[in-house]
Amino acid sequence: MIGPRYPLDAEALERRMDAYLDAALSSRRTAAAPARALAAFPRDLQEFVLRWGAIIASSNCELAYQFTAFAPEAMGAMDLDSVELWLLHAMDLYDNKGQRPAVRAFQDVSGFVANRQERLSGMALEDVQGVLERFVHGLDGRGLKVAAGGETYTDTEHLFVPGIVGLLPDKDANFRLYKAMVVHQWAQNWFGTWRGGVLLDAVERWGQPDLTLRRLHALETVRLDACIERDFPGLHRDAQALRRELDAPDDPAWRALTEPLRRPAALLEDSLRLLEALAAGRLHCPRPRCYQGGLYPERVRGVLELRLARERGQFRIALAKLVEEVDGQPPGQEEPEAEELPETRGRFKLRARAERDTPEGYSYDLFLDGKPVAPPEHMVSTMESIIQDLGEIPPEYLVAAGPGLYKRGLPGGRDPDSVWAGTYHEEGAFLYHEWDHERRRHRKNWCVLREHEVQGTGLAFYHSTLRKHGGLIKSLRRTFEVLRGEDRVLRRQHFGEDIDLDALVDAYADVHGGLEMSDRLFTRLHRDERNIAVMLMVDMSGSTKGWVNEAEREAIILLAEALETLGDRYAIYGFSGWTRKRCEAFAVKRFEEPLNDAVKGRICGIEPRDYTRLGAPIRHLSARLREQEARIKLLITLSDGKPDDYDPQYRGDYGIEDTRQALFEARLDGIHPFCITIDEEGAAYLPHMYGAANYVVVADVAKLPLKVSDIYRKLTS
């Protein structure tokens, strides 16, 4: 008999492995070899491998095999914590990039061991992304996004940096290196490496683009570093410290050659001129500085062209709005298809004004019909971005947009409904983490959620519900009116903002009569504000089809009517989902909308759709609720069953645990979640998700309309 503390032998291990690896095994591939390797380890390590193997197998069987096969090697080379990091790293790769990179990560144990030091002392981008991005936003110019990429470069809208930086021995120094990388890319954007497409045109003419580009980058780096030295002494100091650590000192001949680039007036053109000198001479181009990365004109070109077209359109539409403000009507109504209105050209003028702290040294004032106009904030940032790209606002931009452009809108619009037309995928969507209870970690940006609006239908259902429950609505209104708080002046209080003169006179008389004086001499204004915001999330999964859906809609109508009496702020959203790539939230009523006919129509239009992937909608709607300023924030879920999805992984514990985690996160933000369900088995899992007192099972669907309002009343009084 083998006790729990003794290691398992190879045969027993193989049996246990077979159980979870079944789908990955064949006649040619058995678990025998991994089992033999694992037999040499103590029991607790064996159990570790078997446990994680089973967890990974629930995501992907092939990966579980790879893990099991390479775990002995990994455990031989690292301590257990590092082995766990290794396997989570591989699983993250699987989540983000797919199976093959994950398999490679499992197989490359020695590579992981070699990088481990880097990982321990290194800085991961995700830990500093927020800081870096805000830092760049603060610096100036267009809002650039910081993103992880294989190389360090910019496409003029993103700054790509490695996902992890560990060249230096401690985290702080590695953060400095990150910052220097980001600053260098930012400087390319701000100090004009890409301005006006000059460099893009030059690249076309070069015979050896790669070599020439490397040389030009070296020259530009000298120029940009000089700009930074002048404007940001602190950044320059940091960069110098990094270079002392990581780079070879500059060759004096190189310094002499590049001297002209250190002048304050130096531009990209000066770098281009020096290129020729560099090509003619025998001087070697120095090795790239530790933070400079590379130049990728092709990646810039596409982004730049799109942006130029988009911003020209935005600028012209903004001009059209200015004309509309002056004339009282939108321009060009007589030519409804026109994209631009050349007749407005003469009305606009730009005048440059000296403005320090911009690379060009001036900014523009806009004049319409000879009078200065103050452009709105978004137009100012568009103008700044255009100037950043072109160095000026070209005269041909000064034409108001016609109704054609207005109507068509601009490319890159973020209409959530057109996503499945295949034009873009995750653009404009909200990304949310999901909790994997087995890994005890979030899967980063795992769910893609889009917000749509429910298609409204006629008001027939609304009116028929009002008729059907007429009496009930009256009594609901009465009970809810009692709840409505109002300001009252309380008299004869111990303390308050004013003296209650009546009480004082009485007390005065009492004192004279030899009695004890009361201390209740004040009036106090008692404010009974119901400062409540409530988010109602309605299950629109396929299982609600039929009378459940009808009862849901009736319940919402009654609750909405009651809430109108009460004056609480409320929003109604439906939710549904089909795998993690297509979670959906359907706006029925947003917080700022009144209960008008459009909203009523949307309530009637709530219809069953797909599955119940609860986590992402909860995260999304809690974020919406978080924006509200209210003392009490309620998130009420109206549901008919457990979290469920087409994707079998979400069924069962995984979905319940993810939902629980999402609710837990909401609670941290001061939101009170509550669930109303018609699932009679709800008692089995709801206490775990929502907490023992935070759910109600309404067994009789027909009673749902009445119950929901009743529950709400109890909850908030």
Binding site: V131, G138, K179, L235, L504
Partner: protein, 272 residues
């Protein structure tokens, strides 16, 4: 340095020395014209851009006492108008700051008016239109304002929430002046003048302020105000290192969010 506080009655608060104020536009002319025409004035603008200083300057210019009331959400109309108190078995009336200002023909400045409750702001309505009278119900009097009296209030549209909006019936009684942070060159001059900081440092401080204003809406509700810059500049003049001064006087005042604080501190460190 003074060690004891000086107590004066609000209506005797005349400003003798010219408070330093750099006009950004034509606000001095507009305010003076409104005063001559007995119109009340509303100052709009972000915090720390010079609204209160402007009021001090105008009080000095017009040679009127300045009575400032900082509004808060427990401010009642009795706090403004006045109330009965009891002393030695007798009740007696005490004027509130608004009534004092009316009696003395001074300038009453209600700072951050939206913070006050809506029922409180209503008491200024009769004063703010052509009636120019303050009803004192408990006293059974109607106090008519002399020509010299002026009502002004300030309001920050930046962080107005649904709950704290100025009622149309209130705002439509006022001549409104919009304030914003001064442009870079002027702001630099203000810093140099207020704190005596040297030109290069003042310039970098102003750049730092612009960086934080770029972050407005990215987690910061407001960028660094001119007032905060003056604080930092004063610390620097007293020998505090610029990065430390920015951290203490500006970054910590702007936010508590750890990530934002790091970013803001990195920004100041990049400049000095």
């Amino acid at each position: 340095m003074h060690a004891t506080a000086k107590a004066i009655k609000p209506e005797e608060h005349f400003i003798d020395q010219e408070p330093y104020y750099e006009p950004v536009g034509d606000e001095i002319e507009v305010f003076s014209a409104a005063y001559r025409n007995r119109l009340p004035v509303l100052l709009k603008g972000p915090t720390g851009c010079g609204k209160t200083r402007f009021m001090e300057h105008m009080a000095w210019r017009l040679r009127r006492p300045l009575i400032t009331v900082s509004c808060h959400d427990d401010l009642t109309s009795s706090d403004l108008v006045g109330r009965y108190l009891v002393k030695g078995g007798e009740t007696f009336w005490v004027d509130g700051p608004l009534a004092r200002a009316v009696r003395a023909g001074g300038i009453c400045y209600l700072d951050e008016i939206v913070e006050a409750r809506k029922d409180t702001t209503v008491v200024i309505h009769p004063l703010a239109d052509d009636r120019r009278a303050l009803p004192m119900e408990k006293l059974g009097e109607l106090l008519e304002a002399p020509d010299a009296f002026c009502l002004a209030m300030s309001y920050n549209p930046g962080y107005q929430s649904v709950l704290k909006d100025l009622k149309q019936s209130t705002r439509q009684r006022f001549v409104a002046l919009e304030f914003d942070y001064p442009n870079a060159a002027l702001e630099q001059r203000i810093l140099e003048r207020e704190s005596g900081v040297e030109e290069g440092v003042a310039r970098q401080l102003v750049r730092f302020a612009h960086m934080t204003r770029n972050l407005k809406g990215q987690g910061l509700d407001e960028g660094a105000s001119t007032r905060l810059l003056v604080h930092a500049a004063k610390l620097i003049v007293s020998g505090v290192a610029p990065v430390v001064a920015c951290r203490a006087a500006i970054a910590q005042a702007l936010t508590d969010d750890a990530e934002l604080l790091t970013a803001v501190n990195e920004l100041s460190a990049s400049l000095f």
